[in-house]
Symmetry: C2
Subunit: 344 residues, 2 copies
């Protein structure tokens, strides 16, 4: 089969590799129907040292082609959604809805598991990991359902861990797909005022469609001042940080209200950050978030995608086949595309 590999920063290739095969009785084999490139794929695209090839892709929908003898919740022919972490569904963390900390799980494209930007993939712990989608593989809802793999669940996680409630004022930092999903999620949870910080008009326009009430294009001190002006001088009670770079963290600290919450869902590209008296401690700021347990949210979020209440699939503004994947990375890196759908 053909699959996507990254060989180093800026170097994405489509290779022909052996077809995946069942290895464990809990495995399932999927033919990938739709996958996509994630904003977090751009982090190694900027910084990965040249050397070994790394399989890519952690968001996909596929059709089950074969299942191991112990798989019971999905069967051949089912169209299924895979969250960005695989998990057993039965350990203490899975039962609590924190599947990203599953005791026996892991992440795609690591530990000998392939990536989703490919024609096929082996899914470990299929019963715990996969969720059946009640549509056909030609459904127009596929892009929306695909966002349940990661970006919609991640935006929802930001809003939920920040404690967004009806009537809240929320600031979303970042106008990438996750930021826009955070806007949509905050709106769905009842936020009244949603300030989106981003400077790409086509994206912030989509943010407004998803529920943002204000857009602040300025960054740094200027952006902070503008948000504070919009939020009565003291900042917002809930700040959703959907970027992962230090300036976004600093922006979050700058716009959060004393006693408020910063939820991070952009994978941090730093290991240390200001948390002392002058940043988080003095004003009693809570810092929360992390990799979204997307698996935990699929059942909750899917009905609204199916009935059209929300249209998260709008974050996809380009579609490519596998040959188009290297260009998809380039286009997302140059901000020419927001999020690229892959039809292997």
């Amino acid at each position: 089969m053909r699959a996507t590999f990254m060989y180093g920063a800026g170097d994405v290739r489509i290779d022909t590799v052996p077809d995946p095969v069942l290895q464990q009785p809990t495995d399932a084999l999927l033919r990938v129907v739709a996958a996509c490139v994630c904003g977090s794929d751009l982090h190694p695209y900027h910084s990965m040292p040249a050397g070994e090839a790394s399989p890519m892709g952690h968001e996909f929908i596929g059709v089950v082609e074969e299942t191991g003898s112990e798989v019971s919740t999905v069967r051949t022919g089912d169209l299924v959604i895979a969250p960005f972490a695989w998990s057993d569904g039965t350990c203490e963390f899975c039962r609590e809805g924190l599947q990203t900390s599953c005791l026996h799980g892991g992440f795609w494209a690591g530990d000998g598991i392939g990536g989703g930007q490919a024609e096929a993939i082996r899914v470990p712990l299929a019963d715990g990991t996969l969720v059946k989608a009640p549509v056909g593989e030609d459904s127009e809802l596929l892009p929306g359902l695909l966002t349940l793999s990661d970006v919609y669940g991640t935006g929802h996680h930001a809003a939920k861990t920040a404690g967004v409630e009806r009537g809240d004022t929320v600031v979303v930092i970042g106008d990438g797909a996750v930021g826009l999903m955070a806007v949509l999620s905050a709106r769905r949870l009842g936020a009244e005022r949603i300030v989106l910080m981003g400077r790409h008009k086509s994206r912030t326009d989509l943010g407004i469609e998803f529920g943002a009430t204000d857009v602040v294009a300025e960054r740094g001190e200027e952006g902070i001042a503008k948000v504070r002006e919009l939020t009565g001088g003291h900042g917002a009670r809930r700040v959703l940080e959907a970027v992962g770079h230090m300036p976004a963290y600093e922006q979050a600290v700058g716009v959060v209200r004393p006693g408020g919450v910063i939820s991070r869902v952009g994978v941090p590209q730093y290991s240390e950050a200001p948390v002392g008296f002058g940043s988080l401690f003095g004003p009693n700021i809570t810092l929360t978030g992390g990799p979204a347990p997307a698996r935990a949210y699929i059942e909750e979020l899917m009905p609204h995608v199916l009935d059209g209440t929300v249209q998260p699939g709008k974050v996809f503004d380009r579609t490519v086949d596998l040959d188009g994947v290297p260009d998809a990375y380039r286009a997302m890196d140059r901000r020419e595309a927001l999020k690229v759908l892959i039809r292997p």
Copy 2:
């Protein structure tokens, strides 16, 4: 009057200074009946550069001697408790119970306000700040009531912001007065298992009296391993950090369970700390806490002190007059005293 001043690291003196006088119609003047030395007073005791003298003390109970024309909730002769921050009680943050972020308030021993380790003190915004204690100044409950100024409220804040609930497993880092109050508070909120990390037996014995079920004297990796062993291998859902130094932060990260909460109430002696994928982000750890809005908790916590359900006054293991204050600092710094009560 006589009052305590710090002139630099290790240099605490009792000076004679002019008596405080009313300056604003919202002021009250207090004769200080009981005050104490705080663990956080030891931070400047270690590091304050020599130079200007700084008034000391932010925990005190006093008798109202005189009030400004706009003070209406306390009157001359009342015995009152002062929390460690003064606040107007009416701004948006005070109304939300975050008096440490009061728009018009501040902290003792700063902004021209004296410290509580003195014979008398001027209290700004007396209506918002002071709470009347329904006992006489010779009451045996005075030490317990004095803990409502800071340490008991701070321990309660740690437990509350960490979300301690009935049946929880909690780790408390630090066997100082605040750590012990965090134990007592976690117990009062229903925690079932409370692991106290500390290595001063007389203190951890008091911690056991307050409700700790386990004591871990080891520090660093060894301490972390021991706590994990005690908590089923994955750490505790609630970690209360009552120290403020980086090793305590690292210990908190080491013993917290994925999806858990670290609440810090020890004033951080660092400005940056690990918050990246490998520390907080990956396992979805929440970092919360800050200076306790002690004022918000006095009414809630006082009844249990008055009826003897809890005996937080046991943290005081020495009493001195003003002349004994420099020695009190020395004794607390050398861990010869846990917390020293001052009777000016």
